[in-house]
């Protein structure tokens, strides 16, 4: 009877989920309530977690509860510590959830709500969650080794090197594109700039408090910091209304880009306790708090989605980024569906805390489900806006025209009516001078969040909510930026240390300054080009980031598939093999189009040639002609970089296939590097210590 009841509940969830997904997919012309999305997401997640994840854990990976984890065997009271699964879940989620799942869905909303939503749901349960969970499992069985080490041990030197280069490349592109998002959010917005600048001294105050005033009192210091952050949102508004102070914070994009670079350099060479660690605490609290608040507001308010299911831009003519629905929706939404970066957290970091293999499903698979849900909420925040407003905020001036009147005419002609008055009213409600061409996704997400928060918790504070949302995005973008620059510095020092050992010393100041400067120059270059590009830069950088991130995911899935085959589990290799095949398909197709397309909004080389022709013919306006040589060089560079990424991807895929076919043919391959079984002695009661 009990069993029957359980089964019928799951049948009910399946039916409800199918109805909700069907409702979202088949709805045409009418507005649809966000409750449908929440229902669809929760049902899909519940079924995938209960059945698919459980099956993978039990049958494919053969999780062994009696086996001691690295955290137990190598317990040192510091980084290897067996930890309660909810605590590990918290750490893991805080580490994997960055700004990616907020920005990607916002940009992909140009295709309508449907493609992005379906990819976020099914990409996560069949791809992203599987990648995170399998990588976590493999690293746990290998003394918490990193992805790069596992690739080297299991596939060979080629795999290891590819993982290392892939990680470094993705870091550079990621930081550049996130920097661009922040710069676009602060451009000519004294309020946003003042608030975001204030987060730096606030982080330092918190750092000093934790270091010198009350050492180790993390919670006290964080509470102080969060209070100061909220004050800085209000204070930014005060500065914005003060005619003398506001000019100090009113800057062009380029000036802000230089500031972001200077900040990144400072953060990489300053000690971690002063800036990076305290900023990370603050961003984690603000992130978790705001995401919870957004979920509560959406559930309370159940706003209506105004974006159509599909827009005409699936043909590749979209204003936010060029390219057809296939493959570009899959490239644009990386985080939230499948993100290669997670495999770096799931290997090396999280396994050091895992007390029992049993928790792998909840932390690996469940953590990614939650991130996918964040992406769904970002998609809702973007699509509850009037489509006309959404496109007015996100379309670069190079596409719709610099003047407001041209922009609204162009956007209205696409069938998304919007007026100058409407945009002016919205801007003044949000406390901004203008909301036209605020590309990058952050401002439109902030407008969406502000309107949701405003309706749920009081309309009068729209401007405060807007700048709170901007602060929320900026604070963890800057955390990713300084943590990433630092990691990039360590990786570079490690690589250069092979050439000249002195450079590998992480405490030798000249090496620290040199490698930090090199890393900042790397992402600073792309950020600089992104800012001076009249088409907004996002159009170039975001697809490049997506390709790099998906390439890293493919490397992780290659390692996983190779290990499954080598473990004699060929018949289950499809669990990672199918998402891998899909990623290789979309990444290669996207790279192919970015390299060969004749469309100047898609193809890097055709854009470079087009610009070069126009420059030679003298038809460019003087301000464009001045930057044209740099843009041409950059388009070439991006084209070659894309080619390099895709070549690296195929190299590692063939390497994996080589190892697999040798194994299947009975030829010698590198042995499995799994640590020997040792029984777990942990009892349950430590959990509640």
């Amino acid at each position: 009877m009990n069993n029957l009841l359980k089964n019928s509940i799951w049948v009910l969830i399946a039916a409800l989920g199918a109805a909700a997904v069907g409702g979202i997919a088949l709805n045409r012309g009418e507005n649809i309530n966000t409750l449908w999305f929440i229902t669809a997401a929760l049902c899909v997640y519940a079924i995938a977690y209960r059945f698919y994840a459980a099956w993978i854990a039990a049958t494919v990976l053969v999780i062994d509860e009696t086996r001691a984890t690295p955290a137990e065997r190598l317990d040192n009271g510091r980084d290897f510590v067996p930890t309660n699964k909810w605590i590990v879940f918290g750490h893991h989620f805080a580490a994997i959830a960055g700004p990616g799942p907020l920005v990607g869905p916002t940009l992909a909303a140009q295709f309508g709500y449907l493609p992005g939503t379906l990819w976020i749901l099914f990409g996560a349960v069949l791809g992203g969650c599987v990648q995170d969970m399998v990588t976590l499992f493999l690293s746990t069985r290998r003394d918490a080794k990193s992805l790069g080490q596992m690739a080297r041990d299991e596939l060979g030197a080629l795999g290891g090197t590819a993982a290392l280069i892939g990680t470094f490349a993705i870091m550079i592109i990621l930081i550049a594109v996130l920097g661009l998002v922040v710069v676009n959010a602060m451009k000519h917005s004294p309020w946003a700039t003042a608030t975001v600048s204030a987060t730096i001294p606030i982080a330092m105050i918190v750092g000093l408090y934790m270091r010198s005033f009350r050492p180790g009192q993390v919670l006290e210091a964080s509470a102080l910091g969060v209070a100061l952050l909220l004050l800085s949102v209000v204070g930014g508004g005060w500065i914005d209304h003060n005619p003398t102070l506001r000019v100090w914070f009113d800057h062009e994009g380029l000036m802000l880009a230089w500031c972001v670079m200077a900040y990144g350099f400072a953060a990489a060479i300053l000690p971690v306790w002063l800036l990076l660690a305290p900023r990370d605490y603050l961003s984690t609290y603000v992130k978790l708090g705001t995401i919870t608040l957004l979920a509560v507001a959406i559930i309370m308010l159940q706003p209506t989605v105004k974006m159509p299911a599909l827009t005409q831009f699936i043909d590749g003519t979209g204003p936010i980024f060029g390219g057809k629905l296939f493959p570009f929706v899959f490239i644009t939404i990386a985080c939230g569906a499948i993100s290669g970066f997670h495999s770096l957290i799931a290997s090396g970091t999280t396994p050091k805390l895992l007390s029992n293999e049993r928790d792998i499903r909840m932390i690996g698979y469940g953590g990614m489900l939650l991130e996918s849900f964040v992406a769904i909420m970002a998609m809702m925040a973007a699509t509850v806006l009037d489509p006309g407003v959404f496109f007015a905020i996100n379309s670069p001036a190079g596409v719709v025209g610099k003047e407001a009147i041209d922009a609204v005419a162009k956007i209205s002609s696409w069938g998304f009516p919007v007026t100058v008055d409407q945009m002016q009213l919205l801007a003044s409600q949000m406390g901004e001078a203008t909301l036209f061409a605020r590309t990058g996704g952050a401002p439109s997400l902030a407008v969406g969040m502000a309107s949701i928060f405003g309706s749920a918790f009081g309309e009068s504070m729209l401007a405060l909510w807007y700048h709170f949302a901007i602060m929320f995005e900026a604070i963890f973008i800057l955390t990713t930026l300084d943590a990433g620059t630092r990691v990039g510095r360590f990786m570079l020092q490690d690589m250069l240390g092979n050439i000249w050992p002195k450079l590998g010393e992480t405490s030798w100041t000249p090496s620290v300054v040199l490698t930090s400067a090199l890393v900042v120059a790397g992402w600073g270059y792309f950020l600089y080009i992104g800012v001076i590009d009249p088409n907004g830069g996002v159009n170039i950088l975001w697809p490049l980031f997506g390709i790099a991130n998906q390439m890293l995911a493919a490397i992780a899935l290659c390692v996983a598939t190779g290990i499954l085959v080598k473990s004699g589990k060929l018949k289950y290799a499809w669990v990672t093999g199918v998402p891998l095949a899909w990623l290789v398909t979309i990444t290669s197709t996207a790279a192919w189009e970015k390299i060969t397309s004749d469309n100047i909004r898609i193809g890097f080389f055709s854009a470079a040639n087009d610009l070069a022709d126009k420059l030679a013919a003298g038809t460019l306006p003087p301000e464009k002609a001045a930057v044209a040589p740099q843009l041409i060089f950059n388009q070439h560079l991006d084209g070659w970089l894309t080619l390099f990424f895709v070549a690296l991807l195929w190299l590692i895929v063939f390497d994996m296939l080589r190892v697999c076919s040798r194994y299947l043919a009975g030829k010698p391959v590198l042995p499995l590097a799994e640590a020997p079984h040792s029984p777990s002695c942990l009892v349950e009661d430590w959990v509640r210590d």
């Binding site: 009271g77 605590i87 960055g98 996130l178 180790g216 919670l219 605490y281 970091t349």
Partner: protein
């Protein structure tokens, strides 16, 4: 109710690392009695430096 609040507080302290030094003391007492014990300041410094020596944040 009070015990729920208490366990929430414990989880919060554990998640944020507020109790890291207490955990270190306990670990030390269990495994390395007699060895040199770090002061709270020194431990916290080392703990933070180690925490940020690698990829800890994602996109």
């Amino acid at each position: 109710m009070l015990s729920k609040l208490k366990s929430f507080w414990r989880i919060l302290r554990r998640l944020s690392g507020d109790d890291a030094y207490e955990r270190y003391l306990r670990h030390h007492a269990e495994h390395h009695q007699g060895a040199m014990l770090l002061s709270k300041e020194a431990f916290f410094k080392q703990w933070q430096d180690e925490k940020w020596n690698g990829i800890k944040r994602c996109c």
